[in-house]
């Protein structure tokens, strides 16, 4: 599936991603009100990945609903990503999205927006309170997206599971910085950003592996998945599905279709009948 924050500005983009082989798309993270996000540069390419600090730009839930309505006319599976600074904000947006999406993903892990994302998601008490509030207000499954940059991801995920979360999504980009030597200043407008791509895959795989030991709900793996083999590695660690973000840049928009074919090819050559036979096999 498509990870949040990539090619999900409007219904048309997400439709294009679905037609490129994605099984589902996650919307960009939406909040109560319009938000411009951080000033450019918001994107920097580095040696082993990319750094971004978009800063949760979104037109606000009331405006974004029109995109979701448009998308709902099609047959794709849509997961609505929600951010907020407290239970009330999360719940209001989630409630408004509920009718138009197949599931919700709560953003507890954006590393570059003050007062949101990771700043809330590193505290199991907040995660539990917000998750439970959203679960009680909506009818669709609720996924919780966590960061690997916390003391103990398993305890936070467990708090989410106990609060009623239906799946855990791990991981988000990792807090990082790049400084230009000539200008002698951080490049990103926000100075701090989130690092993604191939370099963070082992960190994501380790997080999923740890979560698998502690949870009974499904895990969705994210972080550096570029090929079918990367996806299989996440699945062996315990993921039931994976999300793709940066690889849309490194391999193009058809990456979804290509990864699916690579998974099938690997399964055939290893005599695997069903992908579910692979989940958590590395344990």
């Amino acid at each position: 599936m498509l990870a949040s924050g990539i090619m999900d500005e409007d219904a048309g983009s997400m439709l294009r991603v679905l037609e490129s082989g994605a099984g589902a798309v996650v919307t960009k993270s939406i909040g109560q009100v319009q938000r411009k996000g951080h000033p450019n540069p918001t994107f920097v390419e580095l040696d082993c990945g990319i750094l971004n600090a978009m800063g949760l730009p979104n037109p606000g839930i009331d405006e974004y609903i029109t995109e979701l309505k448009e998308l709902k006319k099609q047959n794709g599976i849509i997961i609505g990503s929600v951010f907020g600074s407290n239970a009330e904000e999360f719940t209001e947006v989630a409630f408004k999205m509920n009718a138009y999406v197949n599931a919700l993903e709560l953003n507890f892990s954006c590393p570059h927006a003050e007062g949101y994302g990771l700043e809330i998601g590193q505290n199991p008490k907040f995660v539990s309170e917000i998750t439970s509030s959203v679960v009680n207000a909506v009818s669709v499954p609720v996924y919780v997206k966590l960061s690997a940059q916390v003391n103990d991801i398993a305890s936070i995920a467990t708090a989410a599971e106990e609060a009623g979360a239906n799946a855990i999504v791990a991981i988000n980009t990792l807090k990082a910085m790049s400084i230009n030597l000539e200008v002698k200043k951080p490049i990103l407008g926000n100075k701090t950003g989130g690092y993604s791509g191939k370099a963070i895959k082992p960190i994501g795989v380790k997080a999923v592996y740890d979560l698998y030991d502690h949870l009974s709900i499904p895990i969705i793996g994210v972080g550096g998945v570029e090929t079918g083999l990367d996806a299989i590695e996440y699945i062996l660690a315990g993921a039931s599905s994976v999300q793709i973000g940066t690889a849309v840049y490194t391999r193009g928009i058809m990456v979804f279709d290509r990864i699916c074919k690579e998974i099938t090819k690997w399964m055939e050559s290893h005599n695997v009948q069903s992908i579910s036979d692979l989940i958590g096999v590395a344990h």
Binding site: G5, I6, M7, D8, E9, D10, G12, S13, M14, L15, R16, V17, K28, Q34, R35, K36, G37, P39, N40, P41, T42, F43, V44, E45, L46, I50, N52, M54, P57, N58, P59, G60, E63, Y64, N180, E182, V183, K185, I187, G189, G245, T246, V248, Y249, I253
Partner: protein, 262 residues
């Protein structure tokens, strides 16, 4: 990799008119007219800019002061540092043997290297430089040095044809047999030209401008139509591609992604 920011000292800056400036920098990688760079103004912003001067080892951008970023860039002079990534996107195809270029306002900046390229390819070229008034025009002398037939057009008639560039274009299209029209300028002007060119088989390409963030097709900020990324699939679009872009001449999106009518 072309997507990494390369910092470069400004080697020359030229004031073109009251609000328009050209900045030159060392950049050896080839670029086609219509393609663009993401220009980093350290501490201020990063913005997409079409190439306006193409030399083998040096490239240039020409811009009007319209916002915070271009105002800051306008202040930059020789030896100041800017960051460059790119080139990005697709340029003009320059198909056809008898070509009409229509540039409106700051669109002149990206049309100028396209005219020069077309002349180099031995095409027969007419170019309309349009603006609100005489003092908004630039690159007149530069283009006079080419073999292109120049037509100036101002809304107030302070120089050349009095009226919109589209009216001048319509007049030329009726009296000549062009096989291609390439345009860059205000979107409503380009939309009008597009509608004129829809009536015939003439080749038509227009360069669209949208708010951009990543510039490489990842963030989705600049999408039009059904997930068409202006930074990757554009910024120059052909007539057949524009048919699939209902946004064209109707709306764009601000930094938050909210639609704004043009």
């Amino acid at each position: 990799m072309m997507d990494k920011i390369i910092t470069s000292k400004i080697i020359k800056d030229t004031i073109e008119n009251e609000c328009v400036k050209t900045i030159m920098f060392n950049h050896a990688e080839p670029i086609e007219p219509g393609q663009f760079y993401m220009i980093w103004i350290p501490g201020i912003d990063e913005i997409p800019m079409s190439v306006s001067v193409i030399q083998q080892k040096k490239k240039g951008i020409t811009f009007r002061t319209v916002g915070k970023a271009t105002k800051a860039l306008f202040q930059k002079t020789k030896n100041d540092i800017i960051g460059i990534r790119g080139p990005y996107g697709n340029g003009f195809s320059l198909k056809g043997e008898k070509i009409l270029f229509v540039a409106g306002g700051t669109g002149i900046a990206m049309i100028a290297p396209a005219v020069e390229q077309a002349i180099k390819k031995n095409k027969v070229v007419d170019v309309i430089l349009g603006a609100k008034t005489k003092k908004d025009l630039f690159f007149i002398n530069r283009l006079k040095q080419t073999k292109a037939t120049m037509h100036l057009s101002t809304d107030d008639g302070s120089i050349g044809f009095k009226g919109f560039a589209t009216e001048k274009a319509n007049e030329l299209l009726l009296t000549n047999s062009f096989d291609a029209v390439y345009t860059c300028g205000p979107e409503l002007m380009m939309k009008k030209l597009y509608q004129i060119c829809l009536k015939s088989n003439i080749i038509f390409e227009a360069s669209l401008e949208r708010y951009m963030k990543c510039g490489v097709g990842l963030c989705g900020q600049c999408v039009v139509g059904k997930g068409i990324r202006v930074c990757v699939e554009g910024p120059v679009f052909s007539k057949s591609m524009l048919k699939d872009i209902p946004d064209f001449g109707v709306f764009n999106r601000d930094a938050s992604g909210k639609k704004q009518l043009l």
